[in-house]
């Protein structure tokens, strides 16, 4: 099932090789990927997700500011009535920080060494969950996450 997915680079982080590899892999898996480019504010990312009517947003961060930026994106999605949007993350996010992000509604975190096939598999699962009306959006019941 083809989906519209935003791949975003929040904050002051100049590295987007990873984000571009992911964008390319999702394209090759048949998805329509909107890439935001570097150094975007959480509010801008939420705007892009809204205007593009995207099903999911992937946030790539390597700057260490994930505990500030990712929660802001989650909060703003929910406050803008977009709790059904699926949020996943990637980059350098230490294991010790992950539970906090999961508790905010992030449904998957992909670290270095992740195979792109895992991310595509995640997208297949979230598509199925959405079709079955199971909780998967950032503002929906926390519990399920990809592992």
């Amino acid at each position: 099932m083809s989906m519209r997915i935003v791949i975003a680079k929040p904050g002051l982080d100049g590295h987007d090789r990873g984000a571009k590899v992911i964008a390319r892999a999702l394209r090759d898996a048949g998805h329509e990927v909107i890439y935001t480019g570097l150094r975007r504010k959480p509010s801008e990312i939420v705007r892009v997700v809204m205007d593009e009517d995207a099903v999911a947003v992937g946030l790539s961060t390597l700057s260490g500011a994930h505990n500030v930026l990712i929660p802001k994106v989650c909060e703003e999605l929910i406050s803008n009535g977009m709790g059904d949007v699926i949020v996943f993350a990637g980059g350098i996010i230490p294991e010790s920080d992950r539970d906090y992000l999961y508790s905010l509604g992030v449904r998957a975190i992909f670290g270095p060494g992740t195979k792109t096939s895992s991310i595509i598999n995640f997208l297949e699962i979230i598509s199925d969950r959405k079709d079955s009306q199971l909780d998967v959006g950032v503002g929906e019941k926390i519990g399920w996450r990809w592992s």
């Binding site: 048949g30 890439y35 009517d53």
Partner: protein
Amino acid sequence: MEMVLSQDKNIVLAKQGNRRELARLLTIIESGERLPIEESNESWVLGVTGPPGVGKSTLIGVMIEEWVRRGEKVAVLAIDPSSPKSGGALLGDRMRMSSADTGESVFIRSLATRNHPGGLMPFLDSMINLLSYCGWSKIIIETVGSGQSEIRIVAFANRIMLVDGPDRGDIIQAEKAGIIELADVIVINKSDLPNSDAAAISIKKSLEYSNKGDDTIVMLTSSINNNGVSELIEELENLHVDKDRSILRTKERLLSAWDHRLLSNPSLDEILLNIESGALNLDEALDHL
């Protein structure tokens, strides 16, 4: 019936400025449904075309800023190609228009060609209607920017801007494609680079040969230092849009609808296989379709 009613409600919300409803309605249109909105001939639609890499998106980005300063509401439909293999697409135009992701006066939507020739599918009309109905005063369509099918933009836009870069040696390509005859405005972007003056002169000369020198505007712009952008907006505002292309427009609309019907024919795959195996020749296949 219920569905139509609920969409009526969504259309009202979109008109009141609800962006998410607008975005969702565009998705519905893209999926092939029609919305109960009257067609309008009043929409202000600029088609932007030109070869890849000349800076179309970046230029549109700075044009948006200028229009917003002037109190306009600008909507952009930015088209990028779908992969013919996977059907997926990487839509990267809007990253060049990043200043546009704040404020209420700009709306950008990325569209994948989904293998429509030139990416100009008949439902663009419905999208334009919806955007216009919702109060977007300037509507810009950014094309994929390659191939002769780009001429099809005349089916949807009532103003055409051709963008090229300096020193590309590609003016002759634009002439081959014929788009140079259709453009209302031809812009040489990246005028901060050497040879842009020469490129502008060569285009002007070429227009003189075809006796079009009088009514096609040739301009230089630079998106990185905003040179020529405000002048370009001024020219577009004052453009006298009565180029004699109504028959061409109608023809391209017809072709677009024809392509769409062909590509969405349920037996297309089967017929392709039959041609492949030799069971049908091309004429027979066309008759079947």
